[in-house]
Structure formats: structure tokens, C-alpha cells
């Protein structure tokens, strides 16, 4: 059995180790079910220079599972959210650690964490595709989800001028019906006059 700690202890350990580099610490619980079993989370914000040290510290506590790296366009900056879990395997003991890294759009660089967690490459490649950050030191910088002929410097998750321009959006409802097809063999039926006295047609829906 691995030694576990409470979310608060985990947060304190980061504060003790990194001091003021860690900001915006939030320890949260969300409970579901009749017994209200808590899902425990610790949210922290760290500067990008410290990201690898924080992940290394987390590995020293317990080797984490990297869920995903989420990213959000937040005005002048891009928020990268590293979702990591520790203490899984024991009953109801898991703690989710969300490490937020704020990256300015004017200098969208972030170091890779794939040296510590090899599985991170996949998610890092996706972030390069989708929100246009540059992951320094990434072992594989190729595009992952976007096709090779996708225009450069357009990023689907961006909310600014680098996002998907309206010219790239295809509205299905605007396509309309094809006009170059043969005329259907059956003519449009005449609209039937409604009458209150008329019996409903047989074979139709009945109550």
C-alpha cells in the first residue's frame, strides 16, 4: 500500500518546496452519490519555468497518471491545464492535481514534460496543433490531428484573429438541395383540404 496524503498536505508540500512560485492554490471537493464520496482536487498555478520541477516533485510523491493537457484561450494569454492524478488504485484515495501554466500569446513557449512523462507527447502535439503554443524540446513536433494541408498559423481553439476564419466554416444548412438532379418521378402531392367533419384516414396513427 502506498502512503497517501490529504489534498491539503499535498498543496502544503508544494508551497513549502516552491514558495511564492506557486499561486492560486485551490483545494476542492465535489461529492456524488448517496454517501457523498468526495472527488478531491488541488488546483495550482505555476510559471512555465517551474513546470518541470513541479511535475518532478509530483513524481517524487507518487508517479502520476497524465489525464490530458487542456488549453484555453484567455485573452492575451493561453492557459495550459495539466491534469494529473496521484494515489489511484486505492479505494477513493485518488487526488487530481491540475497544474495551470499561463503562457503569453506574444511568446507562446512552454517546456516539454515528456522527459518526465513520455506519454505527454501526444497531448503536447495536440496543443501545438489546436492552440498554437510552441512546446520547447518536444521529441516529435509533427502535426497530430490537423491534416497536412491545413493552413499555417490557424488554430481552431483560438478566439482571436488566429482562430478559424468564417471562410473556413461550412454551414451544412446553407448547402441546400442539389439542383442538377433529375426531376423526381412522382409529382408533389396536392395539399389536402382540412375539414373537421372528415373521418381520419384509415391505417394512420390511432390513440
Amino acid at each position: 500500500m502506498r502512503a497517501t496524503m490529504t489534498p491539503q498536505e499535498l498543496a502544503d508540500r508544494f508551497v513549502n518546496k516552491f514558495g511564492s512560485l506557486i499561486s492560486n492554490i485551490r483545494v476542492k471537493e465535489w461529492c456524488e452519490g448517496v454517501k457523498k464520496t468526495p472527488q478531491k482536487t488541488v488546483w495550482i498555478t505555476v510559471p512555465r519555468e517551474t513546470l518541470n520541477d513541479v511535475v518532478a516533485e509530483l513524481i517524487a510523491i507518487d508517479y502520476p497518471h497524465l489525464g490530458v493537457i487542456a488549453a484555453a484561450d484567455n485573452g492575451d494569454q493561453i492557459d495550459l491545464l495539466y491534469h494529473l492524478q496521484v494515489f489511484f488504485g486505492g479505494k477513493h484515495e485518488e487526488i487530481e492535481v491540475v497544474i495551470t501554466v499561463e503562457v503569453p500569446k506574444s511568446d507562446p513557449h512552454v517546456p516539454t514534460i515528456s522527459g518526465l512523462i513520455p506519454g505527454a507527447v501526444y497531448s503536447e502535439r495536440e496543443k501545438q496543433d489546436m492552440i498554437g503554443i510552441i512546446v520547447d524540446g518536444i521529441p516529435d513536433a509533427r502535426r497530430i490531428f490537423l491534416p497536412d494541408d491545413f493552413p499555417e498559423d490557424v488554430y481552431p481553439w483560438r478566439k482571436d484573429e488566429k482562430g478559424i476564419p468564417p471562410s473556413m466554416v461550412k454551414e451544412l444548412w446553407k448547402v441546400g438541395r442539389p439542383t442538377d438532379r433529375a426531376v423526381p418521378p412522382v409529382a408533389e402531392p396536392e395539399p389536402v383540404q382540412k375539414s373537421d367533419t372528415e373521418e381520419p384516414p384509415s391505417g394512420g396513427a390511432t390513440e
Partner: protein
């Protein structure tokens, strides 16, 4: 003609036997042996996250149903959970149980579907037909509960759109007994079969360490001995109230190898576990409503005002699904919506488990991490002169069947 020297490059895809998403593989081959693996996903990227960021949360729920055709409920459930956290919606207790029952029936149908396809990839088509025949029962029950066979449309933010009433329990129990009666047969057919053991034991091995480092999830991770199951680790819905354990290969095998065989073991025994979980749910289900806010206009108005960020996770049949949502309280559509499906986490493992294996083993190994297999089309092979040839799915399948026959002597 130039001299051909090993290693040869063998591209497979973008349309591929083992995936619902088309994907492009490139194998560096030395004779029959795979030396290096590379893959490129995204061949059918639909931009669902982009669409979601332009829709309101209730519309997104129904978009979630369509992310995956097999885990139809998992994505809707996880998205609902994330939004409920942001808007602090009190979900009625009964809804947790309805959610759990549907999620477990979904697991049964998904695992049995996968088992059938795995049998097919090995050339064991009798078993494929049997598996898909018995899968029907779970799909029928899902239709009985939700009204739909594929896109269930049952989740709603703040609960579920339909209840499972006590008069429906006998039909559910009938399905559970049906599967219980078949479990021994399934264990016998899949796990005691000489041919399946020959093809699957020590094939496509993923060690526990690598499973952890590559961030794999679900049955793929558990088959490597990595104890990890969101239902236990960080319980959602009614799972925190229930009594069950993580299924690891030790439940059947004496040692954990992390091969294809262990992945079959985990999935078969998870079907057994799901039966048990549904029974517990039916026994413990509290009374009450199943939806917090029945008027959608009011619900949407409340959601529009909600601001904050949250993520939620569920254990889908194939592993952890995770959604991250950020709402700003100014617009209906979320500011950010990130979807992480289970295969997203498991794909990195392919590079590891395909290395050193043979061409004929590619279909079963690729399939072994992912039960969501769709039909395949073709495999293009380009030789050094750039002349393209086509290996059909049938040809690849025949290679696999022939290998089985050879090993049977």
C-alpha cells in the same frame, strides 16, 4: 530496379481494421517482424470541440452522444458532471443510480462487442457470431430503458431524462441472469481455448511501468497490472456507494503479463462485475425525482449565468474519459470545452506493443487496446518505386487465419 533492403516501410491506413477513427500507421518491417511503429491520427477529425464552443450546454449533451457510437452515454455523463460542478447543480440521488445502471449496461455491450471482434481477428468466426448474438440482449435492455439503441439521449444536466422504475427491474434482472448463465461459457470459450491462448499469450506485451509512463487507461492499463479505475479511485454517480474492486488479470491468471490474453481476461471479468454492480444499484436505489430542473429554458438561463472551470472523469468501457469545461457567465456556450476520450490515452501504447511482432498479429494487437472497431477498408502498400498496391482487409484477415491454422498444425 533498385535493391530492396530491410527495413521496408509498410503504411497501413488511413482507413484501418481496428478503429472507428481512421488512422495512418507506418511500420518499418524486417521480413515479417515489425521494427518500428509510427501512427498519425486525425484522419477524420470532426472538430467537435470547436462545434461545442458555439452551442449551449444542452445542445452539447446531444453532441456528446455522437462522439462515440459505442460509449454513447460516457461522454454525455462526463460533460453533465463537469457542468453540474460549475453551476453547482444538485443532482437528485436517484439519478446517480439511473446513470450508473445505464453506464454498466453500456460496459457489458461494449466489452462483448469487443470480444467478438477480437475473435474475428483471430479467425474464430463462430465465436464472433456467438458474441454478437449475446450482445443484442444488452442493447435491447438499453433500448428498453432509454428508447434508443445507439445515441441514448438520456443524460441531462442535473440528472437523467427518464427514470428506471421498479416495474422495469424484472426485465433488467432477466438480462442479468441471461449474462450470468453465459459467463462460464464465455470464460471457457475465450480463455480455455487452445487457439486463442496460442495467438494471444505473450503477444503485444505492455509492462506495468510503460503502461504508467505512457498514461494508458482502462482495461489496457489494468491488463498490465496497473490498478486504476475511475469508478474506484475517484467515484462519481453511485459508484461511491457500491462495493466492488478493480479487476486485474490476477483474477484468472496466476501472473500478470500485460499481453493480449490478459486484456481479454480483464474485459470478460468486468462483464461479471457489471452484473453485480447493476444488482447492487437496483437494491439500493433511493426514491425521488431523477432531474433537478425539468424546465430547460430555466436550466439554460441558470447555466448562462454560471462561471468557473471544472473537469470531470468517468470510466468508459475503454478507460478514462475526461472533459474540461470553462464557462464565463456571459454567454451560453462554454468558453472552453476539452474532450479526452479513452483511446486518446491508449494510442501511445501501440508503439510499444507492436514492436517485434509479426504482420499477422497486427490486427489483433491493434484491436486489443480498443474495443471500438469499425469496418475496414483497405491497406495501401507502396513499394520503393512508388507503385501502389492494395492489401485488402480480407487479405490481412486471411494472413491472420492462416497463421492460426499453421500453429494448430
Amino acid at each position: 530496379m533498385s535493391l530492396k533492403k530491410a527495413p521496408y516501410e509498410l503504411p497501413i491506413g488511413p482507413i484501418h481494421p481496428a478503429l472507428k477513427e481512421p488512422i495512418n500507421f507506418t511500420f518499418k518491417m524486417n521480413g515479417e517482424v515489425v521494427e518500428e511503429v509510427d501512427f498519425a491520427p486525425g484522419r477524420a477529425h470532426r472538430g467537435i470541440e470547436w462545434m461545442g464552443m458555439r452551442r449551449n450546454p444542452v445542445q452539447i449533451l446531444h453532441l456528446c452522444d455522437r462522439i462515440c457510437g459505442i460509449c454513447g452515454v460516457a461522454h454525455a455523463l462526463v460533460f453533465a458532471q463537469a457542468v453540474e460542478q460549475i453551476a453547482e447543480v444538485e443532482v437528485p440521488d436517484r439519478a446517480y443510480y439511473v446513470r450508473t445502471i445505464i453506464a454498466e449496461f453500456e460496459r457489458i455491450q461494449s466489452h462483448i462487442l469487443w470480444a467478438g471482434v477480437a475473435a474475428h481477428e483471430l479467425g474464430f468466426d463462430t465465436l464472433f457470431y456467438l458474441a454478437w448474438q449475446i450482445r443484442e440482449e444488452s442493447v435491447d435492455v438499453i433500448e428498453y430503458i432509454t428508447g434508443n439503441r445507439v445515441n441514448y439521449a438520456i443524460m441531462m444536466i442535473g440528472g437523467t431524462r427518464r427514470d428506471i422504475t421498479p416495474d422495469m427491474f424484472p426485465r433488467l434482472e432477466q438480462a442479468l441472469q441471461y449474462y450470468e448463465g453465459l459467463l462460464d461459457k464465455m470464460v471457457n470459450l475465450f480463455l480455455n481455448d487452445k487457439t486463442i491462448a496460442m495467438r494471444c499469450k505473450n503477444t503485444g506485451i505492455l509492462t506495468k511501468r510503460r503502461a504508467l509512463e505512457l498514461a494508458t487507461v482502462g482495461p489496457t492499463a489494468r491488463a498490465s497490472g496497473l490498478a486504476m479505475d475511475v469508478r474506484i479511485d475517484s467515484p462519481y454517480a453511485a459508484y461511491g456507494d457500491l462495493d466492488f474492486d478493480i479487476v486485474l488479470p490476477e483474477i484468472y491468471s496466476s501472473e500478470t503479463v500485460g499481453d493480449v490474453y490478459d486484456r481479454i481476461v480483464v474485459r470478460i471479468f468486468e462483464v461479471k462485475q457489471s452484473i453485480d454492480i447493476i444488482r447492487q444499484c437496483m437494491k439500493q436505489m433511493p426514491d425521488g425525482p431523477v432531474l433537478a430542473e425539468e424546465k430547460y429554458a430555466k436550466l439554460l438561463m441558470n447555466l448562462k449565468k454560471a462561471s468557473g472551470e471544472a473537469f470531470a472523469r468517468v470510466e468508459a468501457p475503454r478507460g478514462e474519459d475526461m472533459h474540461f469545461v470553462r464557462m464565463n457567465g456571459k454567454q451560453e456556450a462554454p468558453e472552453m470545452w476539452k474532450v479526452k476520450a479513452s483511446t486518446y490515452s491508449n494510442q501511445m501504447a501501440w508503439i510499444e506493443i507492436l514492436q517485434g511482432e509479426q504482420i499477422a498479429d497486427i490486427p489483433i494487437i491493434v484491436a486489443s487496446i480498443d474495443p471500438c472497431m469499425s469496418c475496414t477498408d483497405r491497406v495501401a502498400v507502396v513499394n520503393q518505386e512508388g507503385e501502389a498496391g492494395i492489401l485488402t482487409k480480407e487479405y490481412l484477415h486471411r494472413l491472420s487465419v492462416e497463421k492460426t491454422r499453421r500453429m494448430q498444425g
